[in-house]
């Protein structure tokens, strides 16, 4: 354990911010969901890094749950994308504006 845990936390923050930027700038819905996966991964890194620091394993148990939720989210989200595609014949975020005022 020669690497201090702060390095892992900084890496986790970097990946989280990259995922956030991806959600903001991307125009294809599928890539927006992929950026969400990046954010979930950064949280996993932070959980395991805090575990290493605090001498705990509870964070790794929560990484389990995050993996489960990520699988469920991918299944439902991609099903929604397929439904949107069937309805609109497009996956561009700028074209899906029914709820816009």
């Amino acid at each position: 354990m020669s690497i201090p845990y702060e390095y892992y936390i900084v890496l986790s923050g970097l990946l989280m911010v990259l995922g956030l930027i991806g959600i903001m700038v991307r125009r294809n819905i599928i890539t927006v969901l992929i950026s969400t996966e990046l954010m979930l991964n950064s949280v996993n890194i932070a959980f395991v890094a805090f575990d290493m620091k605090l001498h705990e394993v509870a964070g790794q148990v929560f990484v389990f749950f995050i993996l489960t939720i990520a699988a469920a989210e991918a299944a439902v989200g991609l099903g929604l994308i397929m439904a949107i595609y069937r309805l609109k014949k497009d996956v561009d975020i700028e074209k899906i504006t029914e709820l816009k005022l």
Partner: protein, 173 residues
Amino acid sequence: MDLNAISFWVFSTLAVLSAIYVVFGKNIIYTVLSLISTLIMVSGLFFTMGAELVGALQILIYAVAIVVFYVLVISTVPQFKGQATDGKYMLLSIPVGFIVFLELAYVSIYGVWQSSTGIFDEKVLSELGNAKAVGTMLFTKYLFPFEVASLILLVAMIGAIILGRKKEDVQGV
């Protein structure tokens, strides 16, 4: 510089580089492939932190199962014609991202969480092993959330089937 430090720098550099391509890349197939690269590098980082069980599950569930979902959907949706990224939001996202990064770093490093430490120090972990320690916690203290997670997977499966079904099938039933 020992092996742990070298692997940390290699894995983290490659993870950030592939994450940058995930966010800004043009071709969606390359984007998914860089996502796989990022996930495998994150799994390597788990191994450097001594979390072998989670690292193995990361490869099994994320890099195989979840990415296959994305590849399937990309193969059914035709090629995306428009611009990959939106220049309108690019300028806004950089300062917002920087501020969020500063806040995350501040909260994580100077937070109040430092007060409590657990019992699984290096001696106990070398005796038990990581997988046994995590499994013990999972099936004793966190048993109820574990069962609820299985229910969530069931609900998600039913929801995905109903959402993915074609409209004609509904009328036919």
